[in-house]
Amino acid sequence: MLGTPILGQFGPFLFAAPFKLHQVGWCSAILRSLQSARRQGRRYLYTLNTAGLKTTKFGLSLECTVADNCIVTSKYNIITFLPVNLFEQFQEVANTYFLFLLILQLIPQISSLSWFTTIVPLVLVLSITAVKDATDDYFRHKSDNQVNNRQSQVLQNEKWMNVRVGDIIKLENNQFVAADLLLLSSTEPHGLCYIETAELDGETNMKVRQSLSVTSELGDPDKLAQFDGEVVCEPPNNKLDRFSGTLYWRDCKYPLSNQNMLLRGCVLRNTESCYGLVIFAGPDTKLMQNSGCTKFKRTSIDRLMNTLVLWIFGFLVCMGVILAIGNAVWERKAGSLFQNFLPWDPSVNNFLFSAFLSFWSYVIILNTVVPISLYVSVEVIRLGHSYFINWDRKMYCSHSNTAAEVRTTTLNEELGQVEYIFSDKTGTLTQNIMSFNKCSINGHAYGTCTMQKNKDFSSWNPLADGGLCFYDGSLLEAVKTGDLVAHEFFRLLSLCHTVMSEEKTEGALVYKAQSPDEGALVTAARNFGFVFCSRTPGTVTVHELGRPVTYTLLAILDFNNIRKRMSVIVRNPEGRIRLYCKGADTVLFDRLHPCNHELMNITTNHLNEYASDGLRTLALAYRDLTEDEWEEWAELYRGAGRTVDFREDRLAAAYEEIEQDMMLLGATAIEDKLQEGVPETIAILSLANIKIWVLTGDKQETAVNIGYSCKMLTDDMTEIFIINGHTVQGVREELRDAMKEEETQGLGKACSLGNGFSEKPKNPTSPTSLLESISGEFALVISGHSLAHALEADMEYEFVETVSVCKAVICCRVTPLQKALVIELIKRHKKAVTLAIGDGANDVSMIKTAHIGVGISGQEGIQAVLASDYSFAQFRFLQRLLLVHGRWSYLRMCRFLCYFFYKNFAFTMVHFWFGFFCGFSAQTVYDQYFITLYNIVYTSLPVLAMGIFDQDVPEQRSLEYPKLYEPGQLNLLFNKREFFICITQGIYTSVVLFFVPYSVLSHATQSNGIALADYQTFAVTTATALVIVVSVQIALDTGYWTAINHFFVWGSLGSYFTILFVLHSDILFSLFPQQFNFLGSAQNTLKQPVVWLTIALATVICIAPVLAFRFLKVELKPQLSDTVHTGSHRSGYAFAHQEGFGELITSGKNMRLSSLALATFFKEKDSTEMRG
């Protein structure tokens, strides 16, 4: 053995020295001889790769990468920041493009503009981005440092980052686990230790981990130093609940499972200390594997914008080509003759070459149609919207002290376009707070009258938990009077569970339950006098009506999804052995003793009642075992436990053996309460034409019941289809039947067309199709196994067809993967924006798949939140997120983009027209400083202010009129058509801005006779007119003038004139005559009345048609927002009508009624339109 430990020198933990000699890397896959490795006296870790081959992953080969425990999430350090960040930024196409332009501008023959017209905005944009990156990275450095410098005990006290694979680490109570460890031994008996996994999966209850029995004796450092086992395990992966590996030690092999692992991020609890062998370190740990790169999400506006930018580039090239051809013609016809006054450059001696250069010159000039500031501005606006969401007090939950949080700042406007919501049930729609609600004991139902207030149990039971909301006097009486079945019932509840108890202070028991249901059951038993106090691996102590009783725990027959039940076998102090079982009624009733038949029928009735109330039910039973029966079975059980292969199956078979002939005790019903405001939210969202799907792991009945209680399903629905087939054929049949039913209702086809806006873009708002999709109310409930068939390639189309007619869809018993697949399906077939909302680790896949992922924080840990784009505490905040923030974001972004493209086309196209009058020489119309500053100073802030602050209707209105949400879903505010309208307006403006000054100034003179047709005057006139026109236009576009808008609009105009006069001043000229040769132009030009008359004329010609068009549009074809906004303007009818309708929704009454109201509203609206 290398490095015999020198005890005492470094403290007690020296034994790990040999482990530090080798580290695991995951690169090499060469099988090495174990023997040769052993000869070297070193210990190695072996891994099983995905193909199942046994390979060494490290070893002597130095070329393998070393995974140490240092975690680096930061990207830069001080030295690398500038080059790396610049390199990254120039990978952006836009930035490279501008760099290319910059290089073009440095070529004197081409340069139509000074280099600074590009470099100033470029540097500005790059530095804004760099500052943002640097700030982000600073925080990453900080958190990296904090984590990497945590102390851990290896050889000596080491920092976390120095921990290596193969090290043995000592953990003490309440310490964070530094890496993924194989638990070797613990100070607790049987090698047990307790961990809290809150950081990993958000669950705060304690979990038990146990070391292999062979290693559990390695209690002291000496023995550990001698430990020379080898581990073969799976490659690093992100499955938190699974680990498979084998330990080879002393010529034996021992299977390893997740039960033996301590994962990084967990905290050791209730355990003095333990030792673990590092299996995965640093980036290989499951925690880091899970935090892996999330898929970069883009909004549909982003994609549209990219397409449009490409089109604009095409347009730019066309313009360039036209002007280059013009240049060729001009140079040949006129330029060649004009050489007497303007000779050709010696290097450019023919017209074709001149045309070629002119093309590039024009590319430089016209590139401002896609200004570099576009992307930055869009990001700034989104960031602003994100802050507004973060700051929203109406999305703050005081109960859990959580504010809404935007985790991805680039998706906001997509919130205004959502068409499908996929929601988890438990914890999302419901509170995930289980309360023991009802029970049936020996055929007698208790808890039927729930109106009673919480009674204080403490008068007779000092250990009672005041938090329980269940009380039934007769039941309490029954317990007090010594009803044996009732006693047995609660004894079962207090014994048959996996809850851990913790006595924080004297007498104050705290239960830590893995599932809230169990917690509720144990708490109920506690209040009725059967107080579960503590447990050891072999015993359970219960205070039974004030008397402590310790049961010997013989076996736990664990719960799983297939068995749907769990049992314990205990021996009571008198020595009697009894099996207690609780489980799903369907499973349990098959295993009852025949004599229970009558009781079973009564209980079944009760269970049905409970289920129809949306409660979660369990049946309870027991069985007495004789000593012989137990011995016999225990043998079988031990045998099954010892096997390595098919251990699970054989255990299950053994369990099955003993869970027979049980005696029924009764049943429990637990309520999972709906969250506040869920039915109202769902009603409003469906009025906003958003389809809501519930994807849940719960069973069908529970899911359907929740569907009813949150008003997704109503009794008035035309039809609720239930797809429950187990075979491909069965599912297909059921789907076809559903389709047929829909068609016979005469609505199917029309609806399926009207639903996906992409499929029928020509008439997207057609009121008839809307009406129909509302009045034809179908719902569909599909179970997980049917869904598996429905998602197959040959049936998915049929499935989509069927479900797209349905208002509500409930998928029950679905796996996390299926959740993602369903969303994938809708994304593929519908081209609609999808939103997934959930709270648990099982929702992560769908949250990541959907366009927008929302995490509910506060209830179930943070797995979902970490994967989400938005997080908040309550489902009901969703309506505000979508209908208020999303709607505004979409509106603002669309208005911003329209205006942005407009202003740049108006600005740039003037050069195109001027080209025809200056020999296509790429002469700019404006001063070069104006070109530089136009986008970054003169026009940027007003439009940013509009993009951040604008509101068309107040927030209450968007909640009162969910239909206002529709333009977003139909993509009405910014699409290719709108884009063409904006650029047409921009081009029109540029025509006016060029030709009006052209016509006026060409022969104008000042009042002192001096001609006014010089280039500088023309430039100043056009530029001033442009700034005024676009300012008036933004003033028109701004619907919500806050002080900030005023400041920016007037400030921009002011800054234009200020900067103009400064740039044209004597001082700058005397310093740099060549650069600032516009001296005096502003003063001379702007005092001419003719110039102001020209500007006024151009402004009116540009703006008046827009104004008239908008006015007439509001009159002739009002949007709902116009009607809502103007309110009284149109006889106030719609207004008054909607008032009552809003109340209908909030009253939580029948959806049918509200949709009828809506239908009437649309009919009215329709008829007002018809009158036009």
Partner: protein, 371 residues
Amino acid sequence: MAASCWPASGFYREKKRNCSARTAIFDGGMMKNKEGEVANRPDNTAFTQQRLPAWQPMLSAGIVIPGFLVIGLVFIGIGVALFLGSQSIQVLESDYTGLNSNTPCYECSDASKKNCTCSIEFTLTKQFDGPVFLYYGLSNFFQNHRKYGVSRDYYQLSGDTAYFKNPSDSCSPYIYDSGVPIVPCGAAANSMFNDSFRLYQLVGGTKKPVPLDGKGISWWTDYNIVFRNPPLVNGSLAAAFNGTAKPVNWAKPAYELDTSDPSNNGFMNEDFLVWMRRAALPDFRKLYRRITQGDYAAGLPVGNYSLEISYNYPVIGFGGRKKIVLSNVSWMGGKNMFLGVAYLVIGSLCIVMSLVMLIVYAKYKFPEGDS
């Protein structure tokens, strides 16, 4: 081995209860603190809650329709004023390129002829109110060409003698004339217009010269700030230009542009300044002289006149035209029919538009049969 079946299992789903606020520190650096009940509650300010007081303008009929009407009326008013003002301005314009054989300057249009003069005779039947301005105009002349525009050296023109020896590269190809630096360099200066005009009133067979005033025809800023002669050397401007060549096309060096007035030479020659102020468009006019003196201060009286042109500037080669213009001005400058007409048209359109909107509005506001 009871301990081996000591599982942590869950019923239903792995969900659990957690009512309290989370207090967790993450590897990712996510932190939530728990200072007090409402530590994370956002501030309740008008800004953060998007409740900033705001003015929400609307395109209501009450504003738009009268607005259009007012704009229309104002525009028509201005249009009438402009139109009438423009009508009152007298303009006399004559193309003297001499393309046709029957035009007076036909002879001179031959580029090979040097020092050619021709004269245009005209008769005023109506008093031409003063002050009268004399312009020359050029067509198809691209002073606004990008390369023409940059082909000058502002340092040189501001009298910086350092640039007399090394003119800027932008002047190419008019930087050096056989190795001697050209001052003023560049195509702009080189192409300076060099026709000159004299106006006579024909009074009973004698030519009475009309005094032409060349003072103050350039921009004040150009004359006083932008253009500066180099410091005189021994009191002589010519000496200051020593070691430089005149522009190729010029007949005389810069310091001899105006032989009659020594102060009107070099870069301070006003004709030079007028020329150097680039025109925006290929058809342009530049002020040549004012008629403000002597008997003609009030204008040109009725009578016959002769305009004598010394024809030097070749334009036929590139298809250009030259013309001479006599004009007076009103408060808004020279004759400009476009502006007046445009105001009238736009004003009328606004009024028409307001009527259309009124009709549409009325139809919707009071639909027939609606209460």
